[in-house]
């Protein structure tokens, strides 16, 4: 008997009438929360703007009309953007497109992503017979989102033979991949080392004439491979239009990176273990170079000083201990604490550092322009509201002198322990 659904027209009416004094109470009882949208008796959608939105930072109520937020509770957890992208799985690929990303710093670089975008174009050209993009990654990496970059299959080789500078062992691995899957296309970044070098070695070994410096590829039914490409030649002074060969070394921005789909990035393994070849080139490791001698525009790690640095000898000492190249804001330069060639920003140098530590820099737009391409920005500042904090990946609020001192002590300690352990 109690299982029968019973309607209570009065309750329903109160629930619809948001001006009724018992409205909220009834909604709560019927478990609807504060309904923000319901079908009215006349078949119209009724909305209650009081039940939606949130109180903004200035105490003013804001309504987010993007559709991500609904009802009083914010509509529950919204799915992260990555999950909303459709997952594309290619079970039985018609062919393979092999890509060897550079993985500078252990992550896919912008150049790698552009190349993967090109690989996707090549793989997806014919919807009836789609290919799979295979990425060959050497050594340890920190990349979590291979799938979002458009990779269907991932061949991760992490044995000691291919670690460090081992072009011959890596070439051996690529040759094995070639024999196992015979990719229709090989794509490598035409970068200074890594891709550019490995690609040329592979070309010489396979006896393929590659296209180098490719910056554009377009479908063309008249050529054998189905694609035409435009490549730079003669130190960048010529454009060569030619059919796209099997092996191509492409420049950055050769295609748009993949952004609308997710791919499986399923693990793949070589059928046999790598042959242990005797390397004729022995890697003796990186040589320590004097960081102050490195040009600011190509330094990897910059410690930059602004008006908030009070203890200059301490700052120089910190840069030395950390092994960072020194940079400065315009104020620090104008005040005579730093040399003019150390200025970062619109009227100084545009830096490309992977890690940029801004000490006591407020983040004026002229300064932020100069650090646009930096990967990770760390800010040390007293003012939690300044623009540099908004740009920073990690911000520490506090006095620059003390924090730098603490940092130097920690690094020195860690080195000491290492020496004791060794």
């Amino acid at each position: 008997m109690s299982d029968l659904p019973r309607r209570d027209p009065r309750q329903e009416w109160i629930a619809r009438n948001r001006l009724h004094p018992r409205h909220a109470e009834v909604l709560l009882a019927t478990g609807q929360g504060a309904a923000s949208e319901w079908w009215g008796p006349g078949g119209l959608v009724r909305r209650n703007p009081h039940a939606v939105g949130f109180v903004g930072p200035n105490g003013v109520k804001r309504i987010d009309r993007s559709g991500t937020q609904q009802g009083a509770g914010g509509g529950g957890a919204t799915t992260p953007a990555a999950e909303r992208k459709p997952l594309v799985e290619i079970e039985a690929p018609a062919f393979m497109v092999a890509v060897v990303p550079d993985m500078a710093g252990g992550r896919l670089s912008g150049h790698d992503r552009d190349l993967l975008g090109l690989a996707r174009q090549l793989a997806d050209a014919d919807p009836a017979a789609r290919g799979a993009v295979v990425a060959v990654v050497f050594g340890p990496h920190k990349e979590a989102n291979f799938g979002e970059a458009g990779i269907d299959r991932l061949l991760h080789l992490d044995s000691p033979e291919v670690a460090g500078y081992a072009p011959e062992a890596r070439l051996g691995a690529l040759i094995m991949a070639e024999e196992s899957w015979v990719p229709r296309h090989w794509l490598l970044p035409d970068s200074k080392l890594d891709g550019g070098e490995l690609g040329r070695r592979l070309a010489a070994r396979l006896g393929e004439r590659p296209a180098t410096g490719v910056w554009q590829a377009e479908a063309d039914a008249e050529v054998a491979t189905g694609w035409h490409c435009t490549a730079r030649g003669a130190a960048g002074s010529l454009d060569i239009r030619r059919p796209l060969p099997r092996l191509a070394l492409a420049l950055a921005e050769c295609a748009e990176p993949v952004s609308e789909t997710r791919h499986a990035a399923a693990e793949l393994a070589l059928p046999q273990p790598l042959p242990s070849t005797l390397s004729r080139i022995q890697d003796l490791g990186q040589v320590s170079v004097d960081p102050s001698g490195v040009a600011l525009s190509e330094a990897e790690f910059i410690l930059s000083a602004g008006n908030g640095v009070k203890d200059w000898p301490g700052f120089h000492h910190a840069a030395e201990v950390l092994g960072a190249t020194e940079g400065a804001s315009r104020v620090a330069v104008d005040d005579g604490f730093m040399a003019r060639d150390r200025q970062v920003g619109a009227t100084g140098t545009w830096v490309t550092a992977r890690v940029y530590v801004a000490v006591g820099i407020s983040g004026a737009i002229q300064h932020l322009q100069g650090i646009q391409t930096c990967d990770k920005v760390v800010a040390i500042n007293m003012d939690p509201g300044c623009d540099m904090i908004k740009r920073a990946d990690l911000a520490v609020i506090g006095d620059s002198t003390q924090i730098l001192e603490a940092l130097v002590t920690l690094v020195a300690q860690a080195r000491e322990e290492k020496r004791d352990a060794a």
Binding site: R65, S66, G105, Y165, L193, R200, R201, A204, R209, P210, T212, G213, G233, A234, A235, S237, D239, I240, R241, R242, E253, R280, I281, Q282, D283, L284, G285, Q286, V287, V289, G293, A295, E298, A299, E300, F301, L322, G323, R354, V355, G363, K376, V378, I380, P384, D387, I389, K390, A392, L394, A395, V396, I397, I403, E405, A406, L407, T409, V411, A414
Partner: protein
């Protein structure tokens, strides 16, 4: 004093030189990286350096090649080739005959396809190891060469390799000396004919002066007007960063140190 070369067998070095192209005027000149290679060879102690060029001989290329002679050489070996020929067979044959210990080349040519493939093909053909992007040769001892390779961001890597080896020179190698006019005039070309093979593919391609690459547009893929507006009006992006307030200097320093370690910039 007895010259040292009489006692120890000298290191035989061959530098492959090409005709360069001035980036602005387009006139023939000595190619920048090749000239750096010659300079590198000149800086090696106890080395016998030979210059080798394969290509056409005409007025402008001769003037450019004399630029290398002016760096202190009396002769340059020239393998005559018609225009547009593939110089690989000729060079490979000549190097096989000379069998030097060290072959130095530039990374890529300033004319023609400029693919930078030649050293790799030579290495594959001769079966020698190849080291690319050299900044310096540190030492050559007992058949082993210690080399400094230029990495991006001003970094260097030390490599050891058994001779004979082919190396290519990076822009980070020492700048070449000026070419002296007198030796450049007096220097001689030692011409030889080599095997000729035509490059048919190159002739079939469409080649034109490089045009400016289109600038990539910032495409905002947004589902709603609000997202598009946000993307257009965004100032300094981010906001996802971690902000540490009310921490002791040591805690702050620890957080920074962790990030520096993660990014692997501390040595």
């Amino acid at each position: 004093m007895q010259p040292e070369s009489a006692m120890t067998p000298g290191l035989e070095v061959t530098v492959l030189v090409s005709v360069g192209r001035h980036p602005l005027t387009g006139r023939a000149r000595r190619a920048d990286q090749d000239a750096r290679g010659v300079e590198l060879a000149r800086s090696l102690a106890n080395a016998q350096v030979r210059l080798l060029h394969a290509g056409m001989r005409d007025e402008s290329s001769e003037a450019a090649l004399r630029g290398y002679l002016g760096m202190g050489f009396t002769e340059l070996s020239l393998l005559e080739q018609p225009e547009g020929a593939d110089v690989l067979p000729a060079l490979a044959e000549a190097l096989d005959a000379m069998s030097p210990h060290l072959v130095i080349a530039g990374e890529r040519a300033e004319r023609g396809e400029g693919s930078g493939l030649l050293p790799y093909l030579l290495a594959e053909r001769l079966g020698w190891p190849l080291v690319s992007g050299l900044a310096a040769v540190e030492s050559v001892e007992e058949g082993m060469a210690t080399l400094l390779q230029a990495l991006p961001r001003g970094q260097r890597r030390r490599l050891k390799v058994r001779l004979p080896v082919i190396v290519t020179v990076d822009d980070a190698a020492p700048a070449p000396r000026q070419s002296a006019y007198g030796p450049a005039r007096r220097g001689a070309f030692e011409t030889a004919a080599g095997p000729v093979s035509d490059d048919e593919q190159w002739a079939a391609w469409q080649v034109q002066p490089a045009r400016q690459r289109p600038k990539r547009l910032k495409i905002v893929k947004a589902a709603s007007a609000r997202d598009r507006f946000k993307a257009a009006a965004a100032k300094a992006e981010g906001g996802s960063g971690q902000v540490l307030t009310d921490v002791t200097p040591t805690q702050g320093a620890e957080a920074i140190l962790t990030l520096l370690r993660e990014e692997d910039v501390l040595r």
